[in-house]
C-alpha cells in the first residue's frame, strides 16, 4: 500500500494555498488577538502599551450591554438552530427518500437556490414581507384579521425568521447526507415486525440520524451567531448582537483594540463549536468507511 510512503512531488501544489492561509488567515487572527491586548496601535503609536483592560471592560460590563449582547447572540443562535432543525428535517428526509431522480434534482435546486442568493438580498426579501406595509400585514389587514400591523420586524422575531431562511439549507444538506446513508430496510424491517410508520421512524431512523442532527445544528449555530447583516437590518434598535457590537466598535467608536477583544470572545465560542463539529464529521466518515 502507498499509504505510508513519503509525500510525492504533487504535495508542493499545496504551497500557494498554504502561503495564502498563513499570510491572510493565521497571521491576521494572531494580529487580532495581539491587538486585543494593546491600548492602541503598537506600530504607529509609541505610547501604546500592553493591557488587559479591553477584556476587563467586557467582563465587568459597567455599561451593562456587553453581557446582554453575548446572551442575545447565543439566544438568537439557539432559537434559529432549533427552528432550522424542525423545518430542515422533514425536507431532508423527503429528499433522502425520494425515488424520482428528477424530483430529487428539483428539490435540491430549490434548497440551493436561496443559498446562492446573497445574504443582503435575502434579508431585503424578508423586510418586504414582514414590515408594517409588507406582504403579510397588508394581506391580514385587507382580510380584516387584524386592525393594525403586527410587529413582525425590527425585533428578535423578524431576525430569527430571516436567519432561519438563510441557514436552513445548510441543515437540510447535512441531514440529507446522513439520512440517505441510513439503510431504508431497517425501517422496513421494523414495520414488517408490526411498528407503525411513525413508530418505525421515531425508533429507528431518528436515532440513527442523531449525528447528522448534531452536525447540522452545530453548523447552523456557528453561522447564526456570527451573522451581522440580518440582525442589524431586521432587529432595529431591539436587537444588539456581538457581531453588531464589533462593527460599531470599528465603524463608529473607532476602537479596533476593543473590537479585537470582542472578536476573540466570539472566536472562542465559534472554535468550541467547530471542534465539536469536526469530531462528529470525522466519526461520520469513519462509519461510512466501514459500510
Amino acid at each position: 500500500m502507498a499509504v505510508a510512503s513519503r509525500p510525492s512531488p504533487i504535495a508542493w501544489l499545496l504551497a500557494p494555498a498554504l502561503l495564502l492561509f498563513v499570510l491572510f488567515f493565521v497571521l491576521p487572527f494572531g494580529v487580532m488577538a495581539m491587538m486585543s491586548f494593546y491600548s492602541g496601535n503598537p506600530v504607529t503609536n509609541p505610547n501604546a502599551f500592553p493591557t488587559t483592560r479591553h477584556y476587563e471592560r467586557f467582563i465587568f460590563d459597567t455599561a451593562g450591554i456587553f453581557h446582554d449582547a453575548l446572551w442575545a447572540t447565543l439566544r438568537i443562535g439557539f432559537i434559529t438552530t432549533v427552528v432550522s432543525l424542525l423545518i430542515g428535517y422533514p425536507l431532508a428526509h423527503w429528499m433522502a427518500r425520494m425515488q424520482s431522480r428528477l424530483g430529487h434534482a428539483l428539490v435540491l435546486m430549490a434548497v440551493i437556490a436561496p443559498m446562492l442568493t446573497g445574504i443582503v438580498v435575502r434579508t431585503f426579501a424578508w423586510m418586504t414581507i414582514l414590515q408594517d406595509r409588507g406582504v403579510i400585514n397588508t394581506l391580514l389587514m385587507e382580510w380584516g384579521v387584524i386592525g393594525k400591523p403586527l410587529p413582525l420586524m425590527y425585533n428578535e422575531f423578524g431576525t430569527v425568521v430571516a436567519l432561519v431562511h438563510i441557514y436552513v439549507p445548510f441543515m437540510v444538506l447535512t441531514l440529507t447526507g446522513v439520512i440517505g446513508r441510513i439503510d431504508e430496510r431497517l425501517e422496513q424491517a421494523a414495520r414488517s415486525l408490526g411498528a407503525g410508520r411513525l413508530r418505525a421512524f421515531v425508533e429507528v431512523t431518528l436515532p440513527l440520524s442523531l449525528p447528522g442532527i448534531l452536525a447540522g445544528s452545530l453548523l447552523v449555530f456557528a453561522l447564526s451567531i456570527s451573522a451581522y447583516v440580518t440582525p442589524s437590518l431586521m432587529g432595529g434598535t431591539d436587537v444588539l448582537t456581538l457581531p453588531m457590537l464589533i462593527a460599531q466598535q470599528v465603524g463608529t467608536s473607532f476602537n479596533p483594540n476593543f473590537a479585537g477583544a470582542l472578536g476573540v470572545v466570539l472566536l472562542l465560542v465559534s472554535l468550541l463549536i467547530v471542534v465539536a463539529y469536526n469530531r462528529i464529521l470525522a466519526r461520520l466518515s469513519g462509519e461510512q468507511g466501514l459500510a
Binding site: 494555498a17 492561509f21 434534482a105 440551493i112 445574504i119 447526507g177
Partner: protein
C-alpha cells in the same frame, strides 16, 4: 406490495407529509419570488399588492453611477477571485488527494476552516492587519480576502471529483508508459476540470455576494454592491433594491444551472 400503492385509499399520513414539505419549499422560495414582484412594481415605496408592471426600478439601478460603480467593482473582484481560487484551490485539492501528505485530514479541516469561523472576524482580523501594516485598504487586499473564503469551495468540489474517479485510470496511463507529468496533464487534469470549474463558479458567487468579509475592507466610494445595498437599505427601502436583488438572483440561478450541467449538484453538496 408496490403494485398495491395506487389502489390504496387516501393516505392521510402521506398527504400530511407531502403538504408539510410543499409548504417548507414555499417558505424557501417565496421570498425570492416576492423580490421579483417588487422589482417590477412601480410604486415609490415597497407596497403590497403590486399595482402594475414597470422597469423603472431597473432603470434607476442601471442609471445610478453609485450602483453601477459598485456593480463593476464587485464583478471585477469576483472575476479575480474566480481565477485565483481556481488555481490555488485546485492545486491544493490535488496535493491533498494525491500528495501522500501526513496529517491529511487535519490539513483538509484547516483549509475548510474559513467557512466555519465567523466571516466577520476574518474581515476584522484582516482589517487590523492592514492597519498595522500601514497599507490602507487596497483592492488587492479585498480580492485576497475574498479568495481566502472562496478557496475552500474549490477545494471541496475538486476533492469530491477526485474522490469519485478511479485512481486506476492514472495507474493504467503510467503502466502504458506515460511519464508522471504526462499522466498529470493528460489524465488527471481533464478529469478534475469539471470539479475545479464548478468550484470556481461557486467562488465567483461567494465573492459577488460577500458582505461580512468586505464590511471593514472597503473604502468609501469604493464599496462593493452588497455593501452599497446594505447602506442604502438602512435608510431607504424602494424598488431599486429589489431590482438590484433581481440582478444578483438571476446571476445565482444561472450559476445553479451551470453547476448542474458541469458536475451535477450532488458532488458539491457534500458538506
Amino acid at each position: 406490495m408496490n403494485t398495491g400503492c395506487n389502489k390504496r385509499p387516501f393516505d392521510a399520513g402521506r398527504a400530511t407529509y407531502l403538504t408539510l414539505n410543499g409548504l417548507l419549499l414555499a417558505f424557501l422560495l417565496a421570498p425570492i419570488a416576492i423580490v421579483l414582484v417588487f422589482a417590477l412594481n412601480p410604486t415609490p415605496y415597497i407596497s403590497f399588492p403590486p399595482v402594475g408592471v414597470s422597469l423603472r426600478w431597473f432603470e434607476k439601478f442601471f442609471r445610478s453611477p453609485e450602483f453601477m460603480n459598485a456593480l463593476f467593482l464587485s464583478l471585477w473582484v469576483a472575476g479575480c477571485v474566480l481565477v485565483l481560487s481556481i488555481v490555488i484551490g485546485g492545486a491544493c485539492a490535488l496535493a491533498l488527494a494525491r500528495g501522500n501528505l501526513p496529517g491529511r485530514s487535519f490539513l483538509t479541516a484547516f483549509f475548510m476552516s474559513p467557512l466555519m469561523l465567523p466571516a466577520i472576524l476574518t474581515g476584522l482580523a484582516l482589517f487590523q492587519s492592514y492597519l498595522l501594516a500601514g497599507i490602507g485598504r487596497p483592492v488587492w487586499g479585498l480580492i485576497l480576502a475574498h479568495t481566502l473564503v472562496a478557496v475552500p469551495y474549490v477545494i471541496r468540489t475538486t476533492l469530491a471529483v477526485l474522490h469519485n474517479f478511479d485512481r486506476r485510470i492514472e495507474e493504467a496511463a503510467a503502466v502504458l508508459g506515460a511519464s508522471p507529468t504526462r499522466v498529470f496533464f493528460e489524465v488527471t487534469l481533464p478529469l478534475i476540470r469539471p470539479g475545479v470549474f464548478a468550484g470556481g463558479v461557486f467562488a465567483f458567487i461567494v465573492s459577488f455576494d460577500q458582505f461580512p468579509v468586505s464590511l471593514f475592507l472597503v473604502v468609501p466610494k469604493g464599496e462593493t454592491l452588497p455593501v452599497v445595498l446594505f447602506n442604502y437599505m438602512k435608510f431607504d427601502l424602494d424598488g431599486a433594491i429589489a431590482a438590484a436583488s433581481m440582478v444578483s438572483i438571476l446571476l445565482a440561478l444561472s450559476v445553479v444551472l451551470v453547476l448542474e450541467r458541469l458536475i451535477g449538484l450532488k458532488a458539491y453538496v457534500k458538506l
